[in-house]
């Protein structure tokens, strides 16, 4: 007899993690943001003007 498929309900994060870090701590958030801006300088589309101009989509639903 084949095994019955187990019903697996999605697990959840504990509620404690939801309550935490509602407010960013000033210092580290700023550092994180600076790091992120450095990263954006590296990975942002090289010719932003051309990229934005060429980004044309057909209308959908």
């Amino acid at each position: 007899m084949p095994d019955r498929i187990q019903r697996k309900m999605p697990e959840r994060q504990s509620e404690e993690t939801i309550e935490s870090d509602v407010v960013e701590s000033g210092g580290s958030a700023t550092d994180d943001l600076d790091d992120l801006l450095d990263e954006i300088d590296e990975i942002l589309e090289e010719n932003a003007e051309d990229f934005v101009r060429s980004y044309v989509q057909k209308g959908g639903q």
């Binding site: 019903r7 999605p10 959840r12 309550e19 990975i43 060429s54 980004y55 044309v56 057909k58 639903q61």
Partner: protein, 521 residues
């Protein structure tokens, strides 16, 4: 009934609480996302590019594709699974060039000039996040596979956004199962003010303005990708004269019992919390009105005008005109809706949406509204428009850029870029709700508590015998006999509990169809 929007509203909501009768139908739901697509370094044809993207995935990951030939176009030959050569394909033909149903129960296809991923029907908001995220991962794998097929020097870009910044929009739609006996006017009342104002937590943010008649830089930064594109309060259209409440009546199930509310106002979210709360809040409010059709809901005087007024003011200070002639801020409408949903949950236990999902959603809803009221930056880990705004503001300050500069518009686009090496949203510290393991499994496995289980498992197990798969039926080729169609009129049947055994016990589709025809199966 329409509520006065003054200070009485909250007490009104509380007074109504005792009248909820738990009758709401389970809020089966799903999300359909049209992705933006662009080819660089070769001919940029979005139809062929979309076909290439999807065929690269279905060809690379699966050896054969199950095509739907009933719903969309009978000209499509479901028996020719070989991927079309996208560069040979004539884009002028108006049929769906690629239309795959995946083993996770999703539909992955070319819609107009966009690749579209429709999640399988799921039973809870959390599951909608899991399968929406799985859809993103499938798109990422598709990009990797397709990139190997494009000419040298060419590059395929895919964005989970809703606008090109030039007045062209494409949707991220949600669907909710609604009781047919609830008059559609009540459905409209339940959701209209919500669809105008939920963008304050579910908007994905946009540099500039696309409202017809206004210049692009008339708005530096706005809350919603999509708000500029609505022209009607209620209507049938989805591509022109778009309505805030869409009346498409195509339930894809037993029409005598159910409606499918088709929602076209939403932004595609990168934040899992935003997707979760967008779906959960809408599902709770629909359930509340099913449980009390006379429930008083906030009502706005001019929803079409209000949806852009709200979007165009990231300070959240703008008050829009209420039906009673007073004015009210979007966040105050949201506080009223939050109270109604919480009251409904406390009175009924929230079974139609799922108790745990409701409890989680109410926590996030309250936390985010309080954060937005205090300082929107505090919810940059949950709300897309805030996360994007934070990047754009800081980058503009660092490089002394004008608000309409191309670099900021590029950041806006790149926030939604699906390529791992380029996408900015994944670098913003957004909270997650779904686990990696859940998402990974959902790429190939269907949800277990809707008919999507039957669809997905049949495609996995009887791939060569599935002739067509549709939302509400499947057609099997059982050899010499006539084709067999298995109807799936009830989204709540075909679950793992009901059909896992019979699928597992059947060696062929023929055995499956025979077993399903027996009583007590």
């Amino acid at each position: 009934m329409l509520v006065r929007l003054g200070e009485d509203a909250q007490s009104n909501a509380l007074k109504q609480g005792s009248t909820f009768r738990p009758m709401a139908v389970p809020k089966v739901c799903g999300i359909e996302t049209e992705y933006g697509i662009l080819v660089r370094g070769a001919e940029n044809n979005p139809v062929t590019a979309s076909a290439l993207l999807i065929n690269a995935y279905t060809g690379a990951v699966h050896d054969k594709v199950a095509f739907d030939l009933i719903a969309e176009d009978p000209r499509r030959d479901a028996r020719s699974p070989d991927p079309l050569d996208p560069y040979e394909f004539d884009p002028e033909l108006e049929y769906v060039p690629v239309n795959a149903v995946l083993t996770n129960g999703a539909r992955y296809y070319v819609d107009h000039a966009h690749p579209e991923m429709s999640t399988p029907e799921v039973r809870s908001p959390l599951e909608s996040v899991i399968w929406d995220r799985a859809g993103e991962e499938i798109v990422r794998e598709s990009i990797d596979a397709a990139q190997r097929l494009v000419p040298d020097g060419a590059e395929l870009l895919v964005h989970k956004n809703n606008s090109d910044g030039k007045g062209n929009s494409y949707g991220c739609h949600e669907n909710y199962l609604v009781d047919r006996s609830l008059p559609f006017g009540k459905v409209t009342t339940a959701v209209m003010a919500h669809f105008v104002t939920r963008q304050i937590f579910a908007g994905s943010g946009k540099v500039g303005c696309e409202l017809p008649g206004m210049s692009s830089d008339a708005v530096e930064y706005q809350i919603s990708q999509r708000a500029d594109f609505f022209e009607e309060e209620v209507g049938l259209e989805t591509t022109v004269r778009r309505p805030i409440v869409n009346t498409r009546d195509e339930p894809h199930c037993d029409a005598s019992r159910y409606r499918r509310l088709h929602v076209i106002t939403g932004d595609a979210n990168m934040s899992e919390v935003a997707t979760f709360l967008k779906v959960a809040s809408t599902a709770m409010l629909l359930s509340a009105v099913e449980d009390n059709p006379d429930l008083e809901m906030p009502a706005l005087a001019s929803p079409v005008r209000a949806i852009t007024q709200v979007s165009h003011d990231p300070t959240l200070a703008t008050a829009v005109q209420a039906f009673d002639g007073t004015t009210i801020r979007a966040i105050d409408v949201q506080w009223q809706l939050f109270e109604i949903a919480r009251n409904w949950f406390e009175q009924t236990g929230g079974e139609a949406v799922g108790e745990a999902d409701c409890a989680l959603a109410l926590k996030h809803w309250e936390r985010i509204l309080a954060g937005l009221e205090h300082d929107p930056r505090t919810v940059a880990d949950s709300v897309d428009w805030v996360a994007k705004h934070r990047l754009i503001s800081a980058y503009a300050e660092r490089h002394q850029l004008e608000p309409s500069s191309a670099a900021l518009r590029a950041i806006d686009l790149q926030y939604h870029d699906m390529r791992r090496v380029k996408g900015l949203a994944s670098r913003c510290g957004l909270r997650t709700i779904a686990t990696d393991e859940q998402v990974s499994r959902a790429k190939t496995s269907p949800p277990e508590t809707t008919r999507a289980f039957f669809r997905g498992r049949c495609i996995e197990r009887f791939r060569n015998e599935v002739l067509a798969a549709n939302w509400d039926s499947m057609v099997f080729d059982v050899g010499a006999d006539p084709l067999r169609r298995v109807p799936m009129d009830d989204p709540l049947r075909g679950t793992a509990e009901l059909v896992a055994n019979v699928i597992n016990n059947s060696a062929t589709a023929k055995e499956l169809v025979a077993a399903l025809a027996e009583p007590n199966e």
